[in-house]
Structures are given as C-alpha cells and as structure tokens.
C-alpha cells in the first residue's frame, strides 16, 4: 500500500497530465488525433526549449528574468540582419547575439557580483529597450520566405521545431546526468561554499549556465519569429514567469541543487494542456491571466513547503537544539 502511495506521489505530474487529458477529451471531440496531440506539444516548443535552459540555471541556484526579452530581441535582430547577411548567417548571428546576452548576465553576476535577479531584471529592460528602438515600437516583417521553414516546416506531418525540442532535452538530460557540466551544477546549487571548497571553479560554471540559458532563449526567439514571420519587441512579456513556472512545476527547486529536465518537460506539457483547456472551455482572457498567476503562486508555495523549508530550517534547528 505504501508502495502505491509512493508511486502516486513520485509520479504526481503524470497523474495531473492524465486528469487534464481525460477532462479535455470529454469536451474536445477531436482531441485524440495525432494532429491535435502534436499541436499541444508544438505549442509548447518555445516555452519548452527555454524551460530546459532555465532548469540548468535553476539547479545552480540562480535564475534569469531576461529570457523573454532575449527571445524577442533575437527574433528582431535575425529579421533585421536577413537583408545584409542572407538567411543562414542571419540566423547564426541572431543565435550568437542572443547568446551573448547570457554572457553579459553571467559576467554581471560572476564578476560584478550582482544579485542574479537584479542583473537579469536590468538586462531584461535594456534589451526590451533595444528591441523597441530597433523596430521603432512596431512589428517588423521577415522578407525571406525560406525563413519560415525553421519554425513552420513539416516533417512527416510534424513540425520540425518539435525535433529541436527533443534534441535539446536529450542533450540537457545527458549533460546533467553524465558530465562534469551537470554534476557540478547540482553541487553548486546544493551548497555553493562546499562546491567552491572542493575545488569546483564555481564562477566559470555559473557563467556557462547563464550562457546556456540565453542560448535556449535565442533559439526559441528564432523559432517564434520564424513561425509568425515577424519580429516584435513586446513578445515575451510574461514568458519569463511561464518558463520558471514550468521548470519549478516539474520539481526543479528555486533553492537550487534539485531537479531535472524530465520533470521540466512534464511541467511544460501540464502548462500547455491548461492553456488548451482554457481555450476549449472559453475562459475569458482576464480570468486566464488570473489562472496563470494562481498557478505560479501555487507552484512556488509548494516548492517552498517541500524543499525550501528544509534548506532554510537548518539554521533554525541548530538554534533550537542549543536552547
């Protein structure tokens, strides 16, 4: 009996997914078609890719609020560079410039020793400002039709972007499980001081986690702008919260040292299903916003109750024991 409850608790995300799927299939008659199921995941690709990068960063105990801005900014810069550089090099340059924002974040946090939150809040506003300045506050159109293939192209009836998602998740899963890059990440997030004392170069690793997170944001930005053939600075205003919520819903702790991408993809799918459910059940947009806020609050409170308390209470327990 205990075994069953343990399984239920361990796999609670799968159960939530099943409940949502069942609820949706009653309302939406076309739900169980390949097309419809694929579209749910396709919808989640952009959030999903960023959530993988965010998971890596969250495990190390920091986080990045600038992902939404980086995403929008990369899309804009890619489209602007299409004319002078051509398709291939514009995409490459977009990825590079987007990723370099992560380098700025990393430097500010590691070398400038600024709180990750305030540094990324700053870059978030700066790059949103850049995006607005470059586009003159209005959306810009892509002129090369082939650009659409990156995000909208199909392969056996499934969008190519889905494969990016799968590749990213396999790569991150492998990195976290079998390489120094990943194992040291858990050490840093678990206890920064002991990681440093045991000889891990904390600064270099943290720097690269920021770079990686921005890379995923840049990739999502290119996919998004390719899908809609438009670059717009106001894309991704609330994206950073959705991405963090997906990762934390998947069991990655905001306190660092815990989590993984297998949970994250479940979190992404749950959020995507909830979005779909709100559309299917015709929820008013204002109430949709309310639901999103409640989900984030719920997720962060559960995280605090399950994993945060333990970490924070270590000091308190020591005090109580002495008294």
């Amino acid at each position: 009996m205990k075994k069953i409850t343990n399984i239920l608790i361990d796999q609670k995300l799968i159960i939530i997914i099943l409940i949502l799927v069942i609820a949706l299939s009653f309302e939406d008659k076309n739900f169980f078609t390949i097309k419809s199921l694929a579209s749910i995941i396709e919808h989640a690709v952009i959030i999903g890719i960023m959530a993988a990068g965010m998971t890596v960063l969250l495990i190390s105990g920091s986080f990045d609020l600038s992902v939404g801005s980086v995403m929008a900014f990369t899309g804009i810069i890619t489209i602007i560079l299409q004319k002078p550089l051509g398709l291939f090099f514009s995409v490459l340059a977009g990825l590079l410039i987007g990723t370099s924002v992560g380098a700025i974040n990393g430097l500010l946090v590691v070398k400038g020793r600024i709180n990750a939150f305030i540094a990324t809040l700053g870059t978030m506003v700066i790059f949103k400002g850049f995006g607005l300045a470059l586009t003159g506050s209005s959306p810009i159109k892509s002129t090369i039709p082939a650009f659409k293939v990156i995000g909208q192209g199909e392969f056996f009836g499934i969008e190519i972007s889905l494969f990016y998602l799968i590749i990213i998740y396999i790569v991150v899963w492998y990195l976290l499980k079998y390489t120094k890059f990943g194992r040291n990440n858990y050490a840093i997030g678990g206890n920064l001081q002991s990681a440093r004392l045991s000889g891990i170069n904390v600064n270099i690793y943290t720097f690269f986690y920021f770079v990686f997170c921005a890379f995923t944001a840049a990739l999502s930005g290119i996919i998004l702008s390719s899908r809609v053939s438009t670059g717009n600075a106001i894309f991704g205003d609330i994206t950073n919260m959705t991405v963090i919520a997906a990762a934390v819903l998947g069991g990655t702790s905001l306190f660092g040292g815990k989590g993984g991408v297998i949970g994250t993809i479940q979190g992404v799918i749950i959020l995507s299903l909830i979005e779909r459910a709100m559309t299917v059940f015709n929820v008013d947009t204002n109430y949709q916003l309310l639901v999103r806020g409640l989900i984030i609050l719920f997720v962060v409170v559960t995280d605090a109750v399950t994993s945060g308390r333990k970490k924070l209470d270590i000091g308190r327990e020591v005090i109580n024991k002495k008294v």
Binding site: G112, A119, L121, V125, G129, L132, L297, V300, A304, I319
Partner: protein, 327 residues
C-alpha cells in the same frame, strides 16, 4: 616616531576622505548633474521646471519610500505597481459612493495585497521574487476583471484633486505630500524599535532571530506597510489624472526600484535609508526631466533607465567592497 604619526594621520585623513566620498558620492553626482543640466539648457533651472520635475516623480517617490522599507528587509516587491493599479481601479470605481469610501477602500486594498505578499514570503517562506511576480500577475488580473478591462474615468472634484494638482502659496501640494511621506517613513525606520529591527533582520536574519526578534513578523510588517503606501500612492494618482487604465502603472515598478538602488540602498539588505532614496529620487528626477527637455524618444528613455539601474547596482557592489576594505 613623528614620521609614523604623520603617515598614520595622513592615512586617517585619506581614509576619512574616501569614506566621505563613498558615502556621499550620490549627493555629488546629484549636484554635478544639476549644474550640467543648468548649463546645457536654459529651460532647466527655472522655478516652474523644478516644480515640474518633482511633480513628475512625486508618485514614484511615495512608492519608493515603501520599496526602501521592503529592500532594507532583504526583500523586494515586484507587485508594487500592480497593487497601486488595483487600488486605483478600486478607488475610481467607488468614487460614486463618496470620496471617503473610495479612499478608505483603496488604502485597504493596498494593505490586503501587502498582507498577501507578506504571508507567502514571511510565513510560508517562499522565494520573494517569484511570489511578488506571481501576485503581480494576480493583482493585475483582478484589476482587469473588476474593471472589465475598460478605461475608467476618475472625477476629481476640486476637493479631491487638491492633493494632486493644487498649490499652497504657490507650492505644489503633491510635493508637500511627498515630503511628509518621506519624513514619516524616515522616522519609522530610524527612530522606532520596529524600524531598527528591520535593519537587523535585513542585515543578518539568523543573528536577528537568535537575539529574540520575531523575524517573520518584521518582514511581514514591511510588506504590509509597502502595500499601505502603494494604496496611498494610488489615491494620489487618481487625484492627479482623470483617466485610469489597468496597465498604466506597470512601468512605475522599474523606475521605483531604480530610484531606491540609485540612492544606495543595498539589495543585500540592512543598508539604506529614506534620505538616500530622496537623493536617488532627485537624480532620477533630473535625468527624467532632462530627457524630456532634450526630447529623447521613449524607447531610448527605457534603454537609458535600464543602463542606469545596472550601473547603480554595479556601483553599489563596488562601494560595498571598498567599505569592507577601509573599515
């Protein structure tokens, strides 16, 4: 012997000078900015423009007082602008039942919102950044739902618009209001037991806990007061402008944080004061006003503000290291 004394004395003078320089650098920057702007534009240094400068940032200044309190307690409130938006909507929608009702409800809304933040942060001990971001979304959504996403019209009768746009002996009431808020919060922080406890908790919460301070109540209190101040700011806002839209207050948040950080209140908690925030407010006001005089486009204004925030935070970190060095 005397040689060593002389060296020691000169070291002391140097130390003292450096200490003074780093503690008052923002004041110097403020004066320099002021002089530069007076030279650049003859429109800047006129009584009218100085009043204008403060009118533009008065509401931000009121909010910055609350934000200073929260940041000294090693927190931050990213929902401040959303609380203000919700309180403003509540205020405008209830104006038909009389201003007394609407003002009281607006302030009560602020307190309740602050209480929600404080509960999740201090009692449940969830991450304050994510909690306030989530409540930001919640409060905005609530405001959208109750206002049905319409533009609302505030009807400031003369008696109500007194705070926002009247003058007393040629001096704008809104500036008097700002100064009073600053004095009250300043006294609260510097002269009361609760205020001193807040500094202790922000500086080192474990030490504060061991010395018998109920840390979670202190933190909770800081968020409630911030909510209260946001409610008051909403009242000032609605008395000043006649059209209220929900998303309108969102850009205030970033400006408020910039003001507090610019003054030198440390995001690491325990360091800061209303006096510093006042200096940050004046610097921000000068920059804001001069960008308007020099007609910088809106997008670039945002960009410049973002860069200023980053520079202010970098400076703060640099300052902290220097302080440690010369202590």
């Amino acid at each position: 012997m005397s040689d060593i004394d002389a060296t020691a004395r000169s070291m002391n003078i140097k130390k003292g000078f450096i200490k003074f320089f780093f503690s008052q650098a923002m004041l110097l920057i403020m004066i320099i900015l002021f002089i530069i702007m007076s030279l650049v534009s003859d429109k800047f240094f006129t009584l009218n423009n100085i009043y204008n400068l403060f009118r533009q940032v008065a509401i931000l200044g009121v909010m910055a007082c609350g934000m200073t309190i929260v940041i000294i307690g090693k927190g931050i409130d990213l929902s401040a602008a959303a609380i203000m938006g919700l309180a403003a909507v509540a205020n405008v929608m209830l104006q038909q039942y009389g201003y007394a009702v609407s003002v009281i409800v607006a302030i009560a809304v602020g307190v309740v919102c602050g209480f929600i933040n404080g509960y999740f942060i201090a009692k449940v001990r969830a991450n304050f950044i994510i909690v306030t971001l989530a409540t930001q979304i919640l409060f905005t959504a609530t405001a959208l739902i109750i206002s049905e996403a319409r533009n609302l019209t505030s009807r400031p009768q003369p008696i109500y618009s007194f705070i926002g746009s009247a003058n007393v002996f040629g001096f704008p009431v809104i500036i008097i209001f700002l100064i009073i808020t600053m004095i009250i919060t300043g006294i609260l922080l510097q002269k009361t037991i609760a205020g001193r406890r807040l500094y202790a908790v922000g500086f080192n919460d474990k030490a504060a806990l061991v010395s018998g301070i109920n840390t979670s109540n202190v933190i909770m209190g800081s968020y409630v007061i911030n909510g209260l101040i946001c409610g008051i700011a909403a009242v000032v806002l609605t008395s000043r402008i006649s059209r209220v839209r929900v998303g309108q207050t969102a850009p205030y948040l970033f400006d408020v944080i910039t003001i507090v950080v610019l003054g030198g209140t440390a995001l690491t908690g325990g360091i800061g004061s209303i006096y510093r925030t006042a200096i940050g407010l004046v610097i921000f006001g000068i920059i804001n006003n001069s960008m308007a005089i020099l007609t910088v486009p809106y997008e670039y204004q945002q960009l410049i503000k973002g860069i200023i925030l980053i520079l202010a935070v970098l400076y703060d970190e640099f300052n902290r290291r220097k302080r440690l060095l010369y202590q």
